[in-house]
Amino acid sequence: MSITVKFFARLREQVGHAELTLDSAGDVQSAWDQATQNMDMPDNTLCAINMEYVDASTRVQDGDEVAFFPPVTGGSHAR
């Protein structure tokens, strides 16, 4: 099993890839750190696990799809 990490829009361009696979990750923040080689996460970054919004402190399980993206449609986010 493994963890899939996806990046969208401006973040995809900044990070330099759309998708990669990790062997494991503790939480969402650590998935970001591994996938971006410790880039700073922009303040307004949104995170999702299995297509549901989560916080960066949420635990990641084996087999999860973790996604990072900027505010949607250019708008402010209200979950």
């Binding site: 401006r10 297509m51 919004y53 996604a67 949607v72 449609t73 250019g74 986010h77 209200a78």
Partner: protein
């Protein structure tokens, strides 16, 4: 209201008025609805003082559909609606192309107006779409939502 999807993501241009008419003919029971409220968002050729020549709409396949369905479901729980429909474009979009259509059918106008607004505002703040504008010189990601 039957349990079905009321949302479509399209890669090709669409005619919001034809889509509304077709959906209404196929899915609505004639004589039951007294109010139909719709909103169409169309691509402008200007933004923040610049000419915009094209736009690319990116989305998160799977999550987008899931959130559009969720937003429709919330509207159905909040108001007494007969049906609702959301159609959203993705991919390369040209000025004057319709980008989004939201339609609500109900017995009375209050629910239709309120729910149609709700669909649009929730979509703008929660559904994972991102706009990249093509300008006279270069491209830029759109960071700011226009006020409602």
């Amino acid at each position: 209201m039957p349990d079905k999807s009321h949302c479509k993501i399209l890669n090709e241009p669409f005619d919001p008025w034809k889509e509304t008419q077709l959906y209404q003919q196929d899915q609505l029971e004639q004589g039951k609805y007294g109010a139909t409220a719709s909103f169409v968002g169309t691509m402008r050729d200007f933004n923040q003082g610049d000419n915009v020549t094209s736009m690319t709409l990116e989305h998160y396949p799977g999550m987008t559909e899931s959130y559009l369905d969720k937003i429709c479901e919330e509207a159905r729980q909040r108001w007494n609606l007969l049906d609702c429909l959301i159609i959203h474009r993705v991919g390369e979009i040209q000025p004057n192309d319709p980008i989004v259509l939201t339609v609500v059918w109900s017995a009375h106008r209050k629910e239709a107006f309120e729910a149609c607004r709700y669909l649009m505002e929730e979509l703008k703040s929660r559904a994972p779409f991102w706009k990249k504008e093509g300008l006279d010189e270069g491209h830029r990601w759109v960071d700011k939502n226009t006020p409602g």
